[in-house]
Symmetry: C2
Subunit: 169 residues, 2 copies
DNA sequence: TATTGTTATACTCTATAACTATA
DNA sequence: TATAGTTATAGAGTATAACAATA
């Protein structure tokens, strides 16, 4: 709550707005492609992609929620859809019976594979076409640094995951 | 539908995912700040910010929709909320009776002013803190180029009808 | 008691299509 | 006819809180 913060200068504002706008436009374009080619939402694609990349195609619910969604009930909802569509399975974890292990199925991998070429196409056309190789390197390195910073320093309000006992009444 | 598209290489994938992740995390953090300090959603803030920046605090509905939202009914919904809250007014345009001119009110500007310091704080902490001046410049220039490219080449499915308008006043 | 996940519920938001009014 | 905007509606998605089961 530092109120004496100096305003962002023009360069910062420009970068900030450009970033948000690019993110929005890209997500929007990609969402349409995913919906058309695989009947997937952006979140669902992200979940499948993370699973496809994970060690044995598996990941715990909470970890997935940490990755892409911001509430566990939201993830339960999405996982329910993916499960019903046969793209993932859910089993109780062997080591911790409280946990649920989510695993991508063959059908899930197939959907990812089917959707990916067009997806990549959209991203390339919108994001990479106007960029030189050098631009790409810089962009990646800068954004990776920012992401790590964001992940390392959760803004304290991002997740009330540990119930802080807010004294009910 | 180019199926023979080469996949994105590792560097491209990394930049793409980092961009989307950074955008999501930043938007999420900012949204919480906006909700807490001014009871605004991200879209509503964007609308008010665009209006506050516009010539006489005014803008046409369609132009606003082009700016931030992707359907005019969606904008009507948001404008209805902002109108009811007294943050904007809507009047028929003087030159074209079909158009509606949206204008930010004093209360609207006040809300923006009240919300802005904390907003800027969040953005600085999350986005700019880990960046050098040089990084910032590069990021801004690259992303601005990308945005212009995206705006210039609508992905053909972004807007069924209304977007075909390269006709200036 | 703390953690994992689900459920019930209420709410926000978005988009499509039909409609009115003006150009 | 084409454009600007609203409305009706329906659906997707999200978060909060209460809940059960396990650690």
């Amino acid at each position: 709550m530092t109120d004496d913060a100096p305003p962002l200068d023009g360069e910062q504002l420009g970068a900030y707005f450009a970033l948000m706008e690019v993110g929005s436009l890209l997500q929007h374009a990609v969402e349409q492609q995913l919906r058309a080619s695989g009947d997937l939402s952006w979140v669902q694609f992200q979940l499948l992609a993370r699973l496809a990349d994970a060690p044995r195609g598996s990941r715990r619910m909470t970890d997935l929620a940490d990755d892409v969604v911001y509430s566990r009930s939201g993830l339960t909802y999405q996982a329910g859809l993916l499960d019903k569509a046969g793209l993932i399975t859910r089993q109780p974890s062997t080591d911790d019976e409280r946990s649920t292990t989510v695993t991508i199925t063959g059908a899930g991998r197939a959907v990812v594979a089917r959707v990916l070429p067009g997806h990549v196409d959209v991203v390339r056309q919108l994001l990479f076409d106007p960029l030189s190789r050098h631009d790409l390197g810089t962009l990646g390195s800068v954004l990776t640094r920012v992401r790590d910073h964001m992940r390392a320093a959760p803004p304290r309000s991002a997740k009330p995951r540990s119930r802080t006992k807010p004294r009910p009444e």
